[in-house]
Symmetry: C2
Subunit: 342 residues, 2 copies
């Protein structure tokens, strides 16, 4: 094998507000071959997620921030191109925390931390493994099932409905017999969510009054709210809670680029009035049950009860601009950065 | 029996911000005798609670607002002075939703709604029946036990620590083996909470930095926060949550006199980072289990493991000024309005 060159995207400076190209640097390195027990993976596709914005900030969170000068953290799908580990062979398709780069050499001792695992393309396509069968799908599955605790006939509202997590949450809630109302930005996303994914309704927050939409589509109140956005929409839903409601706090994309304080939910006392709860979820806590969720969701993909949509952007160099699409709402479906064809 | 005159305090106008005497009117009425099945109760003492401020506002809450011109709602302890109901006899000491007035005539059909029930002064004093053994005690008991779910060794923080709910919560948490930190206003309250009630520490929010106090006294983070106050203190505790923390939303006394929007907790994303939850409680939901909680708490009062403090103000006419003491923090212990000696 001739010497390979690894192109990488590194965090150059912590952003204030929206990240720009100035926050990134690109580097190239020669790729070394694996030592005994190690594996060399070529990146095929990376998952671009709102959480990445948080990883760029300093300070304690559910995961350590990416250090200045480090390769940007990213989960992805790759192909093993060299292995000195008996559990992996050249040609295996794997998922791992690959980072925003073309190659990742994983030493034997780093395998557990990298999350390196073979994936089965019979269960879903490569991009579906970054969507329904990947972190967003797992987040939606465990957030809805373990924190939301859906019962048939209940009303479930999900924001970011056309996004990676939202599409899984809404379709899964429909499969569980719930009345499902999405919130998304723009007619195209709302139409897709209702017509293709089978949500009962979708409120276009860019077109009008979310409160009025909630009143119309949730006449008995909201039993479960799966929140990906925070801000004014969280407050609007708080004002429509049903008795005993559960709010799953998955993210707050409306707040991630704030330069000031996060907007706290001024209607939080609705939790008291309605004996409701608001609970956060971090997907990593459920890692030991991923295989069960993947099996269930892959079944729904196979029998057509669940669909998925990925928005694929091509080329490692486009990473900085591709990431900002998440925060402007330009992406339509799970945002994937394709780094190599195979 | 000669004709009795009932002095009453009625809601005259909804307050904007802090309630003043102008929000109240006083009326007098002749007291009628009970019809078949009815009971006439003389008010001895009334419970003054922060929740009263909410009942004065228009709009949907966990309970209907008090109407303009209606006698102000209040729970209290009274003495049956005439009864045509076989379950109650003259001389019985009872608790009921008496209202801010000297007498309440309860028709047979209204007995369930009034909550009329005999109380046993062998279990606790009359004022303790408005405190540990009454609504505040029940609120603290079920909020801590059913929503907070304390485990021995966990760190419990309670705001309004010297107040009616707070004193029960903190002492009960100590009995359950927790490390208990109160938050209260002023040295006298803080000293009492630590020296008399046995809290491990108490942070004086008027004296200094609540954040620093939490850092000092909750080195492993906060597992349970029982919130009576909302506002900046809620945000300070959110910033110190332990993994898997539970926040019991009981009230938000810092916000009840706001003329603008409620201050939302800007640190609410700590719920996500720490997989924590925030849940509201309304005590009425636990009515069928009050007797069990009363029996347990009365046992602690009897064996000295629990103490109580009531702040008794005298005279029906002082109601308007007495109520405002809750919001300025002038009360020290459960605020009780004594209306008659016996």
């Amino acid at each position: 094998m001739s010497t390979l060159t690894n192109h990488q995207v590194r965090l150059a400076a912590r952003p204030v507000g929206t990240a720009t190209r100035a926050n990134w640097s690109t580097t190239t390195e020669a790729v070394a071959q694996p030592a005994e027990g190690g594996v060399l993976v070529k990146t095929l596709a990376l998952s671009l997620d709102p959480a990445m914005r948080g990883w760029m900030n300093e300070g304690k969170s559910y995961i350590a921030p990416v250090g200045i000068g480090e390769v940007m953290r990213a989960g992805g799908i790759g192909k093993v191109i060299a292995s000195r580990n008996p559990k992996f062979a050249a040609g295996d398709i794997v998922s791992a925390a690959l980072g925003v780069q073309e190659y990742l050499l994983i030493a034997q001792g780093d395998i557990p931390r990298s999350g390196l695992a073979k994936i089965d393309l019979a269960l879903g396509s490569l991009t579906q493994w970054l969507n329904v069968l990947g972190m967003p799908g797992m987040t939606g599955y465990f957030g809805l099932m373990d924190v939301g605790l859906p019962k048939a006939g209940e009303t479930v509202v999900v924001s970011g409905a056309a996004g990676a997590v939202g599409q899984t949450v809404g379709q899964l809630a429909k499969i569980k017999g719930c009345h499902v109302v999405g919130i998304a930005g723009g007619k195209a996303k709302c139409d897709w969510v209702v017509q293709e994914l089978g949500f009962d309704a979708c409120i276009d927050y860019k077109a009008g009054d979310v409160k009025a939409g909630l009143k119309e589509h949730c006449p008995r109140g909201v039993d479960i709210y799966f929140d990906n956005v925070g801000g004014d929409i969280l407050d609007a839903v708080l004002a429509r809670l049903a008795r005993g409601a559960r709010i799953v706090i998955c993210g707050a994309i409306s707040q991630y680029n704030n330069t000031g304080a996060v907007q706290g939910p001024k209607n939080y006392l609705s939790l008291l009035v309605n004996r409701a709860r608001m609970q956060g979820i971090v997907v990593f806590d459920y890692a030991d049950r991923y295989p069960l969720a993947v099996a269930e969701l892959a079944g729904y993909l196979k029998d057509g009860r669940m669909k998925s949509k990925e928005d694929v952007v091509t080329g490692l160099d486009t990473f900085p601009e591709a990431l900002t699409r998440l925060f402007t709402g330009q992406n339509f479906g799970k945002l994937v950065l394709q780094v190599a064809e195979d």
